[in-house]
């Protein structure tokens, strides 16, 4: 057996490495919810566009970036498997139909636009539009239900889980609208602004209802966490970011609005992390509750994934900077402008 020289076998590189990995996994979740969130939003807003020119503008905005954004889901999933295999297996096995329904919704969302452009046939294009819009609504809803079921441990068919799903749909619509407002011409931007404001208000309202239900029923013992200082701070910051975004949108400062809009899914992911920690999986029919300490893999495996994976993660972030800089210009129906 060849002994790796640089990687400690018996202990973690740092005693808090398992907690760091909890943070890394939550970071990937946040990246996914933020980046694919506005992709979903574009898909939802697409349904409000009757005009072919507008529709093609939205598809042009979506085209070059969505696939790379979606890879954050795979990064989230595989890093969870690599660091906390029991969490991965229980989360998906406990929510079988939700999880597979979600990936099928993603399938419809992804192939719709790709197939649409292959044929100039009205019926075909309408079918592809349905696939795109339907998938873009259903995917964030089911992903939210999955997350709600995970965090509140009350099962997928429950009010907290369903409200989480609705919340994710609303926040995706809000970020999608802000993204499009910042990247398209004035006429479309104005309409996106109005829709985005409605979506932001719906999201804030949804969060308030969700938290009220959770506190009232104390689902998963989450009430005390939400009412703690960090919990109140995250909720408060969400309201501030939402309101600030609306104010900026009304003043037609769309780029600044986009910044505040993107803060909403980041804060939502932070809330998920706060509600879970130090547990990482609650007690369910499939077993007892798992803490980060219990669920984490052995030192050698985690150290290896850290040493090989962290530099790569930095390179990936550079890729994204490159991708978004190539496609940084305003969007026209025939593609990104200069």
């Amino acid at each position: 057996m060849s002994k790796p020289l640089v990687i400690p076998v018996d202990q973690y590189l740092h005693p808090s490495l398992p907690d760091v990995w909890f943070g890394v996994v939550m970071f990937a979740l946040a990246m996914y919810v933020v980046l694919d969130g506005f992709d979903f939003g574009i898909g939802m807003l697409y349904a409000t566009r009757e005009d072919d020119h507008d529709r093609e503008t939205l598809l042009a905005a979506f085209g070059p970036i969505w696939d790379a954004n979606e890879v954050w889901l795979i990064a989230f999933g595989t890093m969870t498997l690599a660091a906390f295999p029991d969490v991965y297996s229980r989360l998906l096995a406990d929510n079988y139909l939700i999880a597979l329904g979600f990936v099928l919704a993603l399938l419809f969302r992804g192939v719709g636009p790709e197939l649409r452009e292959q044929r100039e046939d009205e019926q075909w294009q309408r079918a592809c539009d349905w696939s795109f819009v339907g998938g873009s609504i259903l995917a964030p809803f089911l992903f939210g239900v999955l997350a709600g079921s995970w965090v509140f441990s009350v099962g997928a068919i429950s009010l907290p889980a369903i409200l989480t799903g609705v919340g994710l749909v609303a926040v995706s619509a809000a970020t999608g609208a802000a993204f499009l407002a910042a990247k398209t011409g004035p006429a479309l931007a104005e309409e996106m602004r109005d829709l985005g404001i409605v979506a932001t208000l719906a999201y804030l309202g949804g969060v308030v209802v969700l938290l009220a239900v959770v506190i009232w029923t104390d689902a998963g013992g989450a009430a005390s966490t939400i009412l703690s200082v960090p919990g109140v701070a995250i909720v408060g910051l969400s309201v501030v970011a939402g309101v600030a975004g609306i104010v900026l949108a009304l003043r037609d400062r769309y780029r600044a609005w986009l910044g505040f809009a993107l803060a909403l899914p980041v804060l939502l992911s932070l809330l998920v992390a706060l509600l879970l920690y130090p547990e990482i999986y609650p007690a369910t029919a499939s077993g007892t509750a798992l803490t980060v300490e219990m669920a984490v893999v052995s030192p050698l495996a985690l150290n290896l994934t850290t040493i090989l994976g962290f530099p790569v993660l930095l390179v990936v972030l550079w890729y994204f900077k490159f991708l978004y800089s190539v496609f940084s210009g305003p969007i026209e129906s025939e593609g990104y402008g200069a």
Partner: protein, 492 residues
Amino acid sequence: MEPPSQLFDVAFGAGAPLDGTALFLPAEFASRVQFGWTISVHILFAALSIGLAPFIVYFTWKAIRTDRDRYERLRSFWLKVFAVGFVMGTVTGIPMSFQFGTNFPQFSAVAGELIGGPLAFEAKMAFFLEAVFLGVLLFGRERVSDRTYFLSSVLTGFGAWLSGFWILVVNAWMQTPQGYEMITRNGMEVAQLTDPIAAFFTPRMTWMYVHMINASVIAVALLVAGVAAYIIWKKRDAKAWQTALKIAVLILIVAAPLQAVHGDAYGRHVEDTQPQKFAAMEGHYETGTADLHLFAIPTSTDAIMDPSEENLFAISLPRVGSFLASGGDFDAVVKGLDEYEQNPPVPLVFWSFRFMVGLGFLFIGLAFWGGYLIYRDRLSDSSLYLKLMIAASPLGYAALLTGWYVTEIGRQPWVIQDVLKTSEAVSSTLSSTEATASLVAFVVIYIGLVLAALYTLRWLIEGELRELGVEESPNDHWYGPIPELPGVGNDE
């Protein structure tokens, strides 16, 4: 061993998961069929990315470096195919990793420490690379320099090949696991990583990687050749497609014989490391000296289900199986299937293996014939050759799929060889209602997906023909020589 009477029992072992009255399939059975079905569809698109990558890089390079329109035409056509394939590969790939959790959570829990790392590396090192630079490749032609554009094609292709590497690290570990020890975590026996080098570079790893990459290249070369042959059939002077056909045939001349030579050595490696699988591949039921079946056809319908020697019309070399297995001893004893408590479904493995090998030899024949035609400068003029290449265009994929059936079905009843049985890996909380519902959804949706992909290819070809100025005419026919079309003999 009793000859089983029903395909169902053959394929999934006796013990009747179906009692004939149940409306829903048992969860384990449904999970296995679902995984097999979804991976069969996914791998078509994964292999397309891997196999098409070198073509894309080459066409991009030539399109940038030469002014010739033909390479730009080929680059643009195949990049569209690549893009559709990549999207289909992404959306069918995510359900694969999800099913490790939804359907086989015990597999994830037991092997997570070994397979999680490579899968995460696949996402981070390979998949992001491919997705980001494909975005540039598809939408950024006018936005980046020629050099960055070419580099994007290289990085996209490299991403596809690296993706395959990490996935096969996982699969090879499941065939020949090492670099781990079993420990107890949260009350469960799980594999703990003890030696990453050993676990990543298992004995099977390089065999599998070379064989799979080469199989993908062969499958895509046949696809490219088939499409080119079809377009040449419709328009003889389509210079770009004459070039494409020639390149594809030249690639096949190298890749097809390599696959056979490499595959032969790979087979002996399997015999050493997974004797049970090898016995199923050869239909070697009883321990003793082994003949080598070069060629076999069933003499009755029973023989399809039960390919034992007395049921086959076979051309066999007596005891050569023993000779190869032992490295020189004709009397060497080869372990037979009677040594094991539970065996893989022999007919599926036996016939899949023969189907794959037979196709492999066909490809060598087609490649050499094409080489001869190139030598005589008649590649685009042979009516029969063009027709055969059109007919052969899906066959590379057929060989690739049956090859994987040998590998995966042949490993049964194990999901991780000698460590974890497939039946133990299945979710204990999964109900047959849920499992059946998802299976039906995947079957219906994936059939639609494959049809959409095939129609897209057809539309792309029709579009290409329109651009080449070919009108649909009632005179198109498939018999006789290549239709004469106006403009034959024109130079580019």
